[in-house]
Symmetry: C2
Subunit: 122 residues, 2 copies
C-alpha cells in the first residue's frame, strides 16, 4: 500500500480539463478501442464517458480522442497522438509529484500510530 495518495486535477473554466478519472478513461479507450467498451470496463455510463471525452476535446488545443466510422470493427474510438501525449505527460507529473510528496511526509507519517486493528469499525 502506498503511504500517500495524491490526486491532481487541471481546472479549465468551470470544468476539470483533466484528472485521475479522465486519465483512466483514456487508458481504457486505448485498451478497448471504443468509448462504450471503455465505459463498461470502468462501470461508468456511456453518457458520462462521452461527456468526459467532450470536455477533454473542448479543453485542449487538439482533440484527445477521435471516433472511427465504419471499417471491419464497425466504428470505435482511439486516442490521437496528441491525446497519447497528454496522458503520458499527466502520468509523469503525477509520478514525480508522488515522489516529492513522499519525501515531504516522513515527519507526518511518524505521527500515525501502529495499525493494531484490521478495522477501525466505522
Amino acid at each position: 500500500m502506498r503511504s500517500v495518495i495524491i490526486k491532481i486535477q487541471i481546472p479549465y473554466g468551470q470544468h476539470v480539463a483533466f484528472g485521475p478519472g479522465k486519465a483512466d478513461l483514456l487508458d481504457a479507450i486505448r485498451r478497448h478501442g471504443s468509448i462504450s467498451a471503455a465505459a463498461k470496463s470502468m462501470d461508468m455510463s456511456y453518457k458520462r464517458a462521452w461527456e468526459l471525452v467532450y470536455v477533454m476535446n473542448s479543453s485542449f488545443k487538439q482533440p484527445v480522442v477521435v471516433t472511427l466510422v465504419g471499417g471491419s470493427h464497425g466504428g470505435g474510438a482511439t486516442l490521437t497522438e496528441f491525446g497519447s501525449q497528454v496522458l503520458s505527460m499527466y502520468r509523469e507529473i503525477v509520478a514525480k509529484s508522488e515522489q516529492f510528496v513522499a519525501s515531504e511526509t516522513d515527519a507526518f507519517l511518524s505521527m500515525l500510530g501502529p495499525i493494531i486493528k484490521s478495522d477501525l469499525s466505522t
Copy 2:
C-alpha cells in the same frame, strides 16, 4: 483560479487517516468550538463528523480532538496541541506540493486551448 488542484490523502489500514475533508473539519472545530457546530458549518451530519474524528483519533499516536464536559459553554470540542500540529503540518505539505506541481505543469497547461466559452455545456 488556481491552475492546478492537488488533493493529498494519508491512508491508514483500510481507512484514510487524513485528507482535505478531515483538515477542513479540524479547522471548523477550532473555529466553532464543537463537533456539532463544525459539522453544521460544513453541511455535514453530526454522525459523519464524529466518525471522521473517531478515525483520526484512532489513527494517530495521540488524539487530535478532545471533547470538553460541562463548563459555562456546556461541553464542546477542541483541537489538542498535537491535533493542531497535525493540521499545520498537513497544510504545509499541501502548500509545498502545490508549488512543486505548479512548477511541473507548464508544458501540460500549454496544451490547453483558450477559454472561449463560459460553459462547455455539460
